[in-house]
């Protein structure tokens, strides 16, 4: 038995797997106290006394950053570098703004402190830290009333002694501390400082929230685990101290859920497409979850490994408008959940969802399983007025809104496929979120993607993903070692020792996670580059074998960048190690395929606009069976989503209930 709980802006989603049965549930989110909806949903599902793991995806860290509502945080730096956080990389966010703006730094100037010390690039102490300087520092921080402190000294990843001494003094005085040598022991001081500050800023908020939640959870409930941005989980206790690792908690779970369900249907090379009301998350899964450590969240770099998810501010709620040059646009302004699209009955802005309704792809009586009736007259009036300004009739304007919205999505999908060197024609599009399955066929056509998979419960896929997520911990350290040639015994020993140090911390923390040593999978890797380059390439180092390490780097460079430079000096920049504790994946109910005829699920027929109006059958997803075949044009409705099967596409229901929609005739 296991329960996944995903708290989103509008709904809190639940997926319960118990005795081979999968139950799905949605409860309105309770913004004043997220625990309310959490407990309500558990009660509704009869899962209060759940014995198995309880995995939680939370937006606490993200929202704390977006709303700038974190702890009153101070920063301690090396003397001369107090402004590192504000200077950043000295670039402005927008090239052509008359008065560009940047988000204010998370730590204001008055709370940035310096200590007189310096370590050089070889880890040698140039200027020792005066222990007597620490008590005035502690006093100043106390006087400033800070709730959390980030400490980031230059080159602390090589020699952490000074940072450790500062952190110890602060902790002894009762101040919560995030020290950079523990949070992210990697070079590039701005990114390390920013990551450490984010952790210091959000961890106290996360700590209070999780402690509160744990207190309210029934005593019998299983251990609470938290979804991280890297696609794995950690204990609540670990998340309280490392909240920066959870900034993409929900979206990461969606990718894991997409990879898991599509994998059950036999598809491994995926583009995930999660389109909601205000934003869309897309990610590339080339047979494995793909990570980046270059994320920027709410203007702050967070250099921890996260799934490589690209987010655009476009969704069903994106507002259609005419710009100054007379072009039709959609978004980035959104009607949000309140007032929502015009068809909800009160909004004065016409949105992508409204256009879908007018084109017949959504039905006024079948939205959210008929729980909410949509108003067609209001958006029709608004859209007609909009179209008349550019000389288009109602239906052309509605189709235009969809095309323009799709152009934005297509751009996002190109960013994570083509720009990452992947050919979309060899991938499967996994569509989920409330609006994903409405747009998926259009986008697949635009990008030449041959196949769309719509999982059984596209509206709660993140909650399901949490149950498929492994226990996962990432470790790294900058070493900047030139690769000797020939490699030699001494260097191999040095490398092995470096990994032993990383592993020592890892084994301890995996034990704290409750994963026994035999179950831990270790994935070492090296970040390497040609000496003088400023960009590192991750080279897997699975077998810890140094044999032909140089050759493997040249090959990896050639593959990724199109050229290599044999003979040029190479250096190892970072050691990396990922520890995995595999979980028992939830088994989804399977149904033996029956005949292709879907007539039993037919709700009726209506006219749906594609390039022209076409009579299209409408099916009810819940009544479709494995083996059923649906020839486009067709509409498939269900409680949490509507799927459009375009003309020229054919869908079939597979044994786990996923819809596999493919281009007809190949």
């Amino acid at each position: 038995m296991a329960l996944g709980v995903d708290i989103g802006g509008t709904f809190t989603d639940f997926v319960l797997v118990a005795g081979g049965v999968l139950s799905v549930h949605k409860v309105p989110t309770t913004p004043s106290d997220h625990a309310e909806a959490f407990l309500q949903g558990m009660a509704d599902l009869g899962a209060a006394a759940l014995q198995g793991p309880l995995v939680h995806g939370t937006t606490v860290a993200t929202n704390t950053l977006l709303e700038r509502k974190g702890a009153r945080t101070a920063l301690v730096t090396t003397k001369g570098f107090r402004d590192v956080l504000e200077i950043g990389r000295q670039a402005r966010p927008s090239l052509y703004a008359l008065e560009p703006t940047k988000p204010a730094p998370l730590v204001p100037a008055a709370l940035r402190f310096e200590v007189d010390e310096r370590i050089d690039y070889q880890g040698a102490v140039l200027r020792p830290l005066d222990p007597d300087s620490l008590s005035p520092l502690v006093a100043a921080l106390k006087a400033a009333g800070v709730e959390s402190v980030a400490v980031c000294l230059l080159f602390s990843f090589l020699t952490p002694d000074h940072e450790r001494a500062v952190a110890a003094a602060l902790q002894a005085a009762g101040l919560p501390v995030s020290a950079s040598y523990l949070v992210l022991p990697e070079f590039r001081e701005y990114e390390r400082t920013s990551t450490t500050v984010v952790n210091a800023y959000v961890s106290p908020v996360m700590g209070r929230y999780l402690t509160h939640l744990e207190q309210r959870l029934p005593a019998e409930a299983g251990p609470l685990r938290i979804m991280q941005s890297n696609g794995g989980t950690i204990t609540a206790a670990a998340a309280k101290a490392a909240a920066a690792r959870t900034v993409l908690s929900g979206p990461a779970a969606g990718v894991v859920g997409a990879a898991y369900t599509a994998g059950l249907s036999g598809f491994r090379d995926l583009i995930t497409f999660d389109m909601g009301g205000t934003s869309t998350d897309v990610s590339l899964v080339p047979g494995r979850l793909r990570e980046t450590n270059e994320s920027v969240i709410a203007g702050a770099p967070v250099r921890l490994p996260m799934l490589d998810i690209h987010t655009v501010g476009a969704g069903g709620g994106s507002i259609a408008w005419i710009d100054a040059g007379g072009a039709l646009r959609a978004g980035p302004e959104s009607a949000g959940a309140d007032p929502g699209p015009a068809c909800y009955g009160t909004g004065d802005h016409v949105t992508v969802t409204d256009a879908q309704l007018l084109l017949g792809r959504l039905h006024p009586d079948q939205f959210l399983g008929g729980r909410m009736r949509l108003d067609s007259a209001r958006p029709a009036r608004l859209l007609e007025a909009l179209g008349s300004r550019i000389g288009l009739d109602l239906m052309r304007t509605a189709r235009g809104v969809i095309r323009v919205a799709n152009a934005n999505m297509e751009k996002a999908l190109r960013v994570i496929s083509v720009e990452r060197g992947a050919d979309p024609r060899r991938y499967t599009l996994v569509a989920f979120g409330g609006a994903g399955p409405l747009h998926a066929c259009d986008l697949a056509e635009a990008l030449g993607i041959p196949r769309v998979v719509v999982p059984p419960h596209p509206g709660v896929l993140s909650a399901l993903g949490m149950l498929a997520a492994d226990v996962m911990k990432d470790y790294s350290r900058t070493v900047m070692w030139p690769l000797p040639e020939p490699l030699g015994e001494a260097f191999s020993r040095q490398l092995a020792a470096g990994f032993r140090d990383l592993a020592a911390r890892g084994w301890q923390e995996m034990a704290d996670e409750g994963v026994s040593r035999q179950r831990v999978q270790v994935l070492p890797a090296l970040d390497m580059r040609y000496s003088g380059q400023s960009f590192e390439l991750v080279v897997p180092f699975d077998d810890l074998s140094t044999s032909d390490l140089m050759g493997r780097f040249h090959a990896a460079h050639k593959e990724r960048f199109g050229y290599s430079m044999p003979g040029e000096p190479v250096e190892i920049v970072n050691l990396r190690m990922k520890l995995l504790g595999a979980v028992q994946r939830p088994s989804l109910p399977r149904e033996a395929p029956s005949g292709p005829d879907p007539t039993a699920a037919l709700l009726g027929e209506r006219t749906v606009w594609f390039n022209q109006p076409l009579p299209s059958p409408v099916y009810e997803r819940e009544r479709l069976h494995a083996g059923n075949v649906i020839v486009g044009p067709a509409i498939i409705t269900q409680l949490d989503a509507t799927t459009v099967v375009n003309p020229g596409w054919t869908g079939r229901v597979d044994p786990i209930g996923s819809l596999i929609v493919e281009r007809s005739n190949g």
Partner: protein
């Protein structure tokens, strides 16, 4: 048939993504930190007549200069499939020598024949292209000192590389392997762009693509004209100056008369200083770029960048002036320093027309620093180049940002830890310079203080400005503080250095650079 308002958005997105995908390829595959980390490059797509259809710019100074390059390349060469032209000649389509430009055609099959669909161009700042100092950003007096001059030449002919040309180039630069990596990256970007544009032609048909080129340009032109119509008609004048040209102390006057009439803007720089011996001469392409940048700030980020941005704009700069010099004048600082002053005078003039919209002057200098020499610790020569941010001018809405790049550049800094891993000097301080922004209703942003300790002998080249004449405030706002360059020899006194100089340094010397703050807006 013209494009409808829907196709307009769809194609504007498509063309922009071609340029952006080229940029991703170039940025990813480049070898040198200058391209990869500082992002000092741009990519653009042109139609068959050489009109720009889309640009992915990280660096505004490239904005209006790329169309020159394509025009010159087309004038000097006929293009077949697989051809690619390379050049950096500032007097033939370039800007300054480190910016190496490549131009290639895109053909698409129509009825069995390969037909010209358009052109692609990339420009990347190479961290060394030869010349009198490492890093090729010298205090020079003629173009020949600034590096190897490459006129437009075919680097690829029907896909075959011209090895002789490459060998000649590599023999004339200090870091040939780095150049090879960066050139490979630039060519890879051209292949990406070619694949993408051909794909679009297959999907929509070449005729539609040609129509769409026209339509997105017309659209941008209309939006630009509309933005200019919102500016009250009239002629507005402004004058400012560069401190000096690095050779004599005489200030360099930059003067403009901006005329707004009927949705068009004319920037007449008549009255600006005659061309000078020092390297602050800005070739016409740079002067135009700065002007287009200012107009684009009025139009807004939303409108796609293409030829339509340029059509309602006219730039007059008399030949032989510092803003339209003749060969073989030195030009390397024109691109980085004079271009900033050109934006200052344009905004100064426009502030008279739009007092409620235009911010005060920003720090107005890229504070270019090159450090080079022999690294005794690593046993190799080194050349390090960076630009240092300053304070932005305050505006009617808010205080100016501190420690950020403004106007014609937006390159990133090099992390102190990255720099110390690689070069024989340390950074002792990198901070915001307090109270350097001009006071006002809104105060100007503060400049930066950056302090370097040298660990071995070497040479330092500074191309900096606003060390004498501060960035102006507006509507009663105070000017920003001027910048300062100070050297302290080990055990000696501190000495203020001129703004533009090359000088030897010894181990133990300390260089402090303080960059200017931005001007204030409104009486305090």
């Amino acid at each position: 048939m013209p494009l409808d308002p829907i196709e307009l958005t769809v194609f504007a997105n498509l063309f922009a993504s071609v340029a952006e995908e080229m940029g991703v390829t170039l940025g990813r595959a480049a070898y040198s930190p200058n391209i990869k980390e500082r992002r000092d490059f741009s990519c653009a797509v042109f139609d068959a007549e050489g009109r720009m259809a889309a640009q992915a710019a990280h660096i505004p100074v490239h904005l209006g200069a790329m169309p020159h390059s394509v025009r010159v390349a087309r004038e000097r060469h006929s293009f077949g499939p697989g051809d690619l032209v390379i050049f950096n000649d500032p007097y033939l389509g370039g800007t300054h020598l480190p910016d190496v430009t490549m131009v290639s055609p895109v053909f698409t099959p129509i009825d069995g024949a390969e037909v010209l669909l358009g052109f692609l161009a990339t420009r990347a700042h190479q961290s060394d292209i030869g010349g009198m100092t490492a890093g090729s950003m010298p205090v020079s007096t003629e173009l020949y000192q600034e590096g190897l001059i490459i006129p437009p030449l075919k680097l690829l002919e029907a896909g075959r590389p011209n090895q002789s040309l490459l060998e000649l180039i590599y023999r004339n630069v200090r870091t040939p392997r780095e150049r090879a990596g960066d050139f490979a990256a630039q060519m890879a970007a051209h292949r990406t762009g070619e694949d993408r544009l051909r794909e679009i032609a297959v999907r929509y048909g070449p005729a539609k693509v040609v129509e769409a080129f026209d339509a997105v340009m017309a659209y941008t032109e209309a939006a630009t004209r509309m933005a200019l119509r919102a500016v009250p008609a009239g002629t507005y004048e402004f004058e400012d100056r560069l401190d000096d040209d690095g050779v004599s102390d005489e200030p360099v006057v930059i003067r403009v008369a901006v005329t707004i009439a009927d949705g068009e803007l004319t920037a007449d720089f008549t009255g600006s200083a005659p061309e000078r011996l020092g390297s602050i001469n800005a070739v016409l392409a740079v002067t135009q770029s700065a002007t287009y940048y200012v107009v684009r700030c009025l139009t807004g980020d939303e409108v796609p960048v293409n030829d339509g941005c340029f059509r309602p704009v006219r730039v007059v700069a008399p030949e032989g002036s510092v803003l339209n010099p003749r060969p073989p004048r030195a030009v390397v600082a024109g691109n980085v320093e004079t271009s900033q002053r050109v934006t200052d005078v344009l905004f100064g003039a426009l502030a008279k027309a739009l007092p409620g919209r235009i911010p005060a002057a920003s720090y107005g200098t890229m504070s270019n620093l090159t450090i080079g020499g022999e690294d005794p610790y690593r046993g190799r020569p080194f050349a390090y180049y960076e630009t240092i941010a300053g304070g932005m001018g305050a505006g009617p809405l808010a205080d100016g940002l501190s420690a950020v790049h403004a106007h014609m550049t937006n390159t990133l800094n090099t992390p102190v830890e990255a720099l110390e891993f690689t070069y024989p000097f340390r950074v002792a301080e990198y901070s915001i310079r307090p109270d350097s922004g001009g006071a006002g209703t809104h105060s100007g942003g503060d400049g930066v203080r950056r302090v370097y300790d040298f660990l071995c002998p070497g040479s330092v080249t500074l191309l900096t400005d606003r060390r004498r004449y501060p960035p102006f405030g507006l509507l009663g706002g105070a000017p920003g503080a001027t910048g300062r360059n100070v050297i302290e020899q080990r055990g000696g006194d501190a000495e203020t250095l001129p703004g533009k100089i090359t000088r030897r340094v010894a181990a133990g010397d300390r260089l402090t650079i303080e960059t200017p703050g931005g001007g204030g807006w409104g009486a305090a």
